[in-house]
């Protein structure tokens, strides 16, 4: 099939960017969206132009690298799929496709379609872990966890950190990402000792990074390639409120 592509080109972080239009022929329905970009880049290289920079790696939907707004949708039209899993059979001959990078001030553009998602790492650094050093862990079966509980934790833990939730959110909120980690660890016995401090620190780090607030629009859950439920945000809010209330108690006591 033959396609017209409007692609965001921005040579560097601080440089101005704009949409450039390319036509591409010989696209097969079996190609992934990224393979279609490989073809475009081969064509641009042959024409002596600079190829489009885009983030990609595993190309099987798990590394979370790929990140494209396709016709205004994060990862394109297929539900529960990263851009690398989107195949060209989702499109038809003659289509015009607009491709842009994730847009959020907490994800500065690096070049073309590549953004820097280091802010996600800093949210995890704020408390997205169990504080346990290597060595000396007790036998794994001494911690009993119900099958349903672990399945629910796994649903949340499946987050690939791609940032589609942020890109899809009108407020550029990172609540789905943060809520997923808080839910994963909050469901498990191992995560209990730090549950309050984790919720407080991670939520506060989201603000520091410049992500917007969640207004429960729900676009994040629609865009998520791992179909993580917006329920994780409910859990995050609950943990944050409980932890905030506990934090304020001593203050109230000293005031009285």
């Amino acid at each position: 099939m033959k396609l017209t592509l409007n692609v965001w080109r921005q040579p560097a972080s601080q440089a101005p960017g704009k949409l450039e239009t390319y036509t591409l022929d010989g696209v097969s329905a079996d190609m992934s969206f990224l393979e279609m970009f490989d073809l475009l880049n081969e064509q641009l290289t042959t024409e002596g132009k600079v190829p489009v920079a885009f983030a990609h790696d595993c190309r099987e939907g798990i590394c979370g690298s790929c990140s494209m707004m396709i016709n205004g949708q994060a990862h394109g039209p297929w539900a529960g799929a990263a851009t690398c899993q989107l195949h060209m059979r989702a499109f038809k001959d003659g289509d015009i496709i607009t491709v842009e990078p994730w847009r959020a001030s907490a994800f500065p553009i690096v070049k073309d379609l590549v953004v820097n998602r280091g802010s996600f790492d800093r949210i995890i650094q704020a408390g997205g872990y169990v504080s346990v050093n290597t060595g000396g862990a007790r036998d794994a079966n001494s911690i009993l966890i119900g099958k349903d509980t672990v399945e629910e934790a796994m649903d949340a833990a499946a987050c690939i950190g791609c940032g589609a939730c942020v890109a899809a959110c009108p407020n550029a909120s990172a609540s789905l990402f943060t809520g997923a980690k808080i839910t994963h660890l909050g469901m498990l016995p191992q995560g209990q000792p730090e549950r309050d401090t984790r919720a407080l620190a991670m939520v506060e780090q989201m603000d520091i990074e410049g992500f917007g607030h969640c207004t429960l629009v729900g676009e994040c859950q629609e865009a998520c390639p791992k179909e993580i439920s917006i329920d994780v945000i409910k859990k995050m809010n609950r943990d944050y409120l409980v932890a905030s209330a506990k934090r304020q108690e001593p203050k109230a006591a000293s005031a009285s």
Binding site: T45, H56, Q125, G128, V130, A137, D139, A140, G146
Partner: protein, 637 residues
């Protein structure tokens, strides 16, 4: 010739690691913060090593070319991780895991390393659970297990089809915790392009910042390479697109021996290639073979719909040929059997390069819900890629390049032939022999990172007198200069062909002549084709753009340049190894289709030594000594 002393501790197999741990020197806790370690790569091996060494008190710097350590390709491992816990009471033990791994590797791995791996497997599961890894559980709350290719016990722990992801996120969270505690300095978007050797010791690395093009160097007391495998030499593989050999290859050129480069694992259950546009191959987890039955039509060229082919006209070839292991035969055996069926004209799907993996019986026996619960995400993935519904129609699978058992040579301490340069995970050669069993790569990456390197690097640091060296030393400046010069050279060629076109051509040569089956004739031919390709690469390459910002074509040019040289070494190694073992199948050496090993002449590790540009590399041999297992013909019948 190199001194290939493997430094295997003496004493009984079961006590080697304990004795060694006792005999290793310790670094005083107060002194650890004075010592610095560089870790390149942050997958299972790198992240776990960096986090653990930081916990111990060392100053750690960790480098990744990704935007975050969580993107490392360990994330893509699906099926599981082995551990000799014997929770299922089905006869498992450390000794049995050790034996299965040695046998699975076709008796081409080191006994002592593999035994240690089996011992540590038990601690890995405990550590990961403590971190909050959500392994699958039984209703009573205990951990669940399943079986994997090459084993008759259920010892594989899993988190749906995303085990690698969950284990990596566990190690990543430990690493990020250390970053927040300022024990690890994380360098993202930095690609290592050279190792710096001062007075015979590895003392640092040179990196290029992928965003700015800036080339800098970094000094330390020890360097760890945990940079993964080199399967992308074949272009099409299950590896992530950015996985490459550059770190290991540049270390080889600085004096680190490259061991057994020809050992490539071909995984039997990948989605077949759909066309020339294909950039990578997608694996279907081996765990599918617990319930899926592999078959082809008995009749050649039978292109009826699978449902129209009656039972009597199907050949369940794995069950027929290997009745005791059946569909769970190891990867090399299963891959070769599939290739044989397709070579015989009985393959299915476009081009006849595919066999069926059929769940109809399992769905009938267990119900669709149970199958969906076990493998749902894999079935969805398959449908997305092929547009076929595997609940209704058997999957089509074909073997594909998956894992490389070769890598930099290391001793028992995981130190390469350059003192101070340690190598972990898939980047080293040590534990899998000529074939890797399922669910053993995750085990090795984490064992190396959590439980081996933190000890052995301490021993190296405590036992070595290291002069004060920083990155103003002449060796650093020289290494930086050569990296700058190479970058400039790529940009200056201004030829006509893209980097990708060279990579694809190399991949075709490698798959054709150094793939699932190798012959003397084919390898000799490849050894003519590759140098010619190399010459064309250096005269007709086109790298658009500049070197001072993000330039993915430029990054790739360096990696493909290294792949071309590595490809040549792989063919050389495959040619020299006149036997068949594990993933290395030399057509001339077989016994009715089964690999025919030659222990008298080839029970050694082939460790290749760089002898300068334009000179043939030198083959060093480390004999493999088996004191605890009997070198027997591998049988899965």
């Amino acid at each position: 010739m190199l001194d290939l002393n493997a430094k295997i501790p003496s004493g009984p197999l079961q006590e080697k690691w304990d004795q060694h741990r006792f005999s290793m020197k310790l670094v005083n806790p107060a002194n650890k913060r004075r010592h610095s370690v560089i870790v390149v790569g942050a997958g299972l091996a790198g992240a776990s090593a960096a986090a653990t060494m930081s916990e111990l008190g060392y100053k750690v710097s960790c480098f990744v070319y990704h935007d975050t350590p969580r993107r490392a390709h360990s994330i893509a491992a699906q099926g599981g991780i082995n551990a000799a816990k014997n929770y299922q009471n089905d006869g498992d033990s450390i000794r049995r895991l050790f034996y299965d791994t040695i046998k699975g590797g076709d008796f081409r791995a080191r006994e002592a390393n593999v035994y240690r791996l089996a011992q540590l497997s038990v601690n890995i599961i405990d550590q990961c659970v403590a971190q909050g890894v959500p392994f699958a559980r039984e209703y009573g709350g205990l951990l669940a297990n399943r079986s994997f290719g090459g084993a008759q016990v259920s010892r594989t722990f899993y988190a749906r089809g995303q085990t690698g992801q969950q284990l990596l996120l566990g190690a990543y969270s430990a690493l990020e915790r250390q970053v927040s505690l300022k024990g690890v300095e994380m360098h993202t978007f930095e690609e290592m392009l050279d190792v710096v050797v001062v007075d015979g010791h590895a003392r640092g690395i040179v990196t290029r910042n992928l965003l700015t093009g800036k080339i800098t160097s970094h000094a330390a007391d020890a360097v760890v390479l945990a940079t993964g495998g080199y399967g992308n030499v074949f272009y099409l593989s299950t590896n992530a697109m950015l996985s490459n050999t550059t770190a290991t290859w540049r270390a080889y050129k600085k004096g680190a021996a490259f061991a057994n480069p020809c050992y490539t694992q071909i995984h039997p259950t990948c989605i077949p290639v759909s066309g020339d546009h294909q950039s990578k191959l997608t694996l279907m987890s081996e765990s599918l073979r617990n319930d899926g039955r592999v078959w082809v039509p008995i009749k050649r060229g039978d292109n009826r719909e699978p449902s129209a082919i009656p039972e009597a006209e199907r050949d369940y070839f794995l069950e027929r040929k290997y009745p005791s292991f059946g569909n769970l035969a190891p990867r090399d055996i299963s891959s070769r059997a599939a290739k044989e069926a397709c070579d015989d004209g009985r393959g299915v799907g476009p081009g006849g390069l595919g066999v069926y993996l059929d769940f109809a019986d399992a769905i009938k026996r267990l119900g669709k819900n149970t199958i969906a619960e076990r493998y749902g995400n894999l079935f969805d993935m398959y449908q997305r890629i092929t547009d076929e519904n595997p609940y209704e129609r058997p999957m089509r699978i074909y073997p594909a390049v998956h894992y490389t058992m070769g890598g930099l040579w290391v001793d028992y301490n995981l130190m390469s032939s350059i003192p101070g340069l340690h190598v972990a995970g898939e980047a080293n050669f040590s534990d899998h022999g000529a074939n890797r069993l399922g669910a053993s790569a995750l085990m090795q990456g984490l064992a190396d990172g959590y439980f081996v390197l933190p000890y052995t690097i301490g021993d190296y640091i405590a036992g070595t007198k290291l002069a004060k060296v920083d990155n103003t030393h002449a060796e650093f400046k020289a290494a930086e200069e050569s990296v700058r010069a190479q970058t400039k050279r790529f940009l200056d060629i201004k030829g006509k062909r893209s980097v990708d076109s060279f990579h694809k051509e190399l991949g075709k040569i490698m798959w054709e002549y150094c793939g699932m089956a190798r012959t003397k004739e084919g390898l000799t031919k490849a050894l003519e084709l590759i140098p010619a390709l190399k010459a064309e690469f250096w005269s007709n390459l086109n790298v658009p753009g500049s070197g001072d910002n993000l330039n993915q074509a430029l990054e790739n040019a360096g990696r493909v340049a290294d792949f071309i040289e590595l490809g040549e070494l792989m063919c050389r190694d495959a040619l020299a190894r006149e036997e068949s073992c594990g993933g290395h199948f030399r057509v001339e050496y077989q016994d009715a289709g089964e690999a025919k090993r030659n222990d008298d002449d080839f029970a050694y590790v082939a460790a290749w030594e760089f002898a300068g540009e334009g000179n043939a590399p030198i083959l060093n041999k480390e004999p493999l000594v088996y004191e605890n297992v009997h070198l027997s013909t591998r049988s899965y019948k």
